[in-house]
């Protein structure tokens, strides 16, 4: 099977009672699960499977672009965002994702242009504000904070994920104190997410807090095959007083 999924899945025919229906919604749930487990490759495959079912589902396209960004393939993400915009023209979330891809690829002017374009549209999503926050966090802190707050306000049921994303972007900018605030709120709702625990653990480790070990242990328990988390746990467990003080 291309996606490494269950090969025993029957092709067509009547499904037995209680069997999971593998429709677009199922794959969306799977993709979100893998994303929150920081397995971006599998998440990307599940987003592709959503589009296999129905290529007009917006979440599939946006998810693919986001996963490409998470995998560090910014140029490909940009190309794919353009492709998605052929189907969903002037979509603010796709514009925001394109801005994010440009920003992470160190193309600041383009990123600002796309972000400006995205906030000028209607029906703004949290992603639009989170991207804007990421772009402006270095240079215009108060604007960025406002953007994060707007993202959380318009998140509705996606609140925990938006908080997780906010925490991640603040950690990326080394603003650990604020990041911990959001990540702690996120792990309360996403207690089964290795990604949330990992981000929290990393922030705590950077501030020299002893809770880092327990957060990272929690993360490793939830996803034992995650090498990065295990390495981080090992590193945190073995560092001395001076390193803890320096947040290294």
């Amino acid at each position: 099977m291309e996606f490494g999924g269950d090969d025993t899945e029957p092709k067509g025919g009547a499904k037995s009672p209680g069997e999971t229906v593998r429709d677009a919604e199922y794959y969306y749930r799977e993709a979100t699960k893998y994303w929150l487990a920081a397995d971006f490759e599998l998440a990307l495959r599940n987003y592709s499977r959503i589009l296999e079912q129905n290529s007009t589902i917006f979440e599939g396209w946006a998810g693919q672009v986001l996963m490409l960004i998470e995998l560090g393939e910014y140029r490909e993400a940009g190309v794919w965002a353009d492709k998605a915009m052929e189907l969903f023209p002037e979509n603010p979330e796709l514009l925001a994702l394109k801005a994010l891809a440009c920003f992470r690829d160190a193309k600041l002017e383009q990123a600002v242009a796309y972000s400006d374009n995205s906030v000028g549209k209607e029906n703004l999503t949290p992603r639009v504000w989170l991207t804007r926050a990421e772009i402006f966090l270095d240079r215009k802190g108060p604007i960025a904070e406002g953007c994060i707050n707007k993202a959380i306000r318009c998140a509705s049921k996606l609140g925990p994920i938006v908080k997780l994303e906010a925490g991640r972007l603040l950690r990326r900018k080394r603003n650990y104190v604020f990041a911990i605030r959001y990540l702690k709120e996120a792990v309360q709702d996403l207690s089964r997410s290795p990604l949330a625990w990992y981000e929290l653990g990393c922030c705590q480790a950077s501030l020299g807090l002893s809770e880092a070990t327990s957060s990272l242990e929690q993360c490793v328990n939830l996803r034992p095959d995650w090498t990065e988390a295990k390495d981080m746990l090992h590193k945190v467990g073995n560092r001395g007083f001076f390193r803890r003080l320096m947040g290294k």
């Binding site: 589009l51 007009t56 672009v65 393939e73 140029r75 189907l87 023209p89 002037e90 690829d105």
Partner: protein, 344 residues
């Protein structure tokens, strides 16, 4: 027709939603739903470029420097390097379809130019092969990155020179001591005529000493100034035939060589014209020293101040040390009608 994105009820027959512009119907067969992926080897290259952009190192430099840097760390340059095998970077990037016909053309031209190697047709064909190869390499992406006409021409020239060096080096690396040379001997028993062209390869130590009759490529002897009585017109490497082995003595009787009192068949071991005219005078013949061979080749001889060529001059011209032998002929290449592998 309801839009899947904004749930707006559109007029039947619409392809896009009136409210949000989303497409209303799309089959996965017509839309590619699998995103492009980045090959792992490209990660560090992109990281360098990103770092340069982040640090704004280049923004303060002249535009030419910026373009040069971009080119050096671009994917295209790596692609160019990989293009030593035509189409390889395209294959890695899943763009092989773009150049598949060009690669096929290159392969056909390469086969044809190998077949006609060392002939005017072969030279034209190898030129075309090189041009197609260069075009495949440049097409990978450099053409888009370099805008000016002059720059493009310069780039293509550089690529052609680079690939020409590769073409020159590859056979020499694959076949050690690869080369070729013309023979000035006619050997009827072996169906060899004057002017035939042979391909040669390195002689491994295990093959030494070479048997009598072997055709070898030798350096022309440098005796022009040392021996004023014998002037050779051969300036390039040439194919000669091994006649005498180390420790033997070689005499010439009429049209045949005599080795240790035994006459060699002239149709298999022909005596060149100049030796028939001026055979060695010593009764014992010319002794072949250790680690040397008596190699028979035809020279155009000009004698000054003497009635005949001296034995010393013949010895200098015909005795080749092992180190003078550049290779052993393994393929009778030209003319085409006599093309065949040499019996070893």
């Amino acid at each position: 027709m309801r839009c899947a994105r904004c749930e707006f009820e559109n007029i039947p027959g619409q392809t896009r939603c009136i409210r949000c512009g989303s497409i209303l119907e799309a089959g996965s067969a017509v839309i590619d739903i699998y995103p492009p992926r980045m090959p792992a080897w490209r990660k560090p290259i992109r990281a360098v470029r990103r770092w340069a952009r982040t640090q704004r190192v280049l923004s303060r430099m002249p535009a030419t420097v910026q373009r040069g840097f971009d080119l050096v760390v671009s994917d295209s340059l790596v692609g160019l390097m990989l293009s030593i095998i035509p189409g390889l970077p395209h294959l890695i990037r899943r763009r092989f379809r773009e150049v598949r016909l060009l690669v096929l053309l290159w392969f056909i031209l390469l086969c044809a130019s190998l077949f006609f190697y060392h002939s005017p047709t072969g030279a034209v064909l190898i030129g075309l092969t090189l041009a197609v190869h260069a075009w495949i390499a440049v097409r990978y992406g450099l053409v888009e990155e370099i805008r000016g006409f002059g720059e493009r021409v310069a780039l293509v020239l550089i690529v052609v020179i680079f690939l020409a060096l590769v073409y020159w080096a590859v056979p020499r690396v694959l076949i050690r001591g690869f080369g070729g040379g013309y023979t000035s001997l006619a050997i009827p028993a072996r169906n060899i005529s004057r002017g035939d062209y042979f391909l040669v390869r390195h002689v491994p130590r295990a093959e030494e000493p070479l048997p009598r009759g072997t055709l070898v490529l030798i350096e022309p002897p440098r005796i022009r100034n040392a021996q004023r009585d014998l002037r050779l017109n051969q300036r390039q490497r040439m194919i000669g035939q091994i006649i005498g082995l180390a420790g033997e003595t070689v005499r010439v009787e009429g049209t045949a060589y005599v080795i240790g009192g035994q006459r060699l068949e002239p149709s298999q071991f022909p005596v060149p014209h100049w030796l028939q005219q001026s055979p060695p005078r010593a009764v014992t013949g010319i002794a072949v020293p250790d680690h040397s061979y008596f190699v028979s080749t035809d020279y155009a001889v000009a004698v000054h101040g003497h009635a005949a060529v001296t034995d010393q001059a013949i010895s200098n011209a015909c005795i080749a040390r092992t180190s003078d032998i550049r290779g052993r002929a393994f393929l009778h290449w030209w003319p085409l009608s006599r093309r065949r592998f040499m019996e070893q």
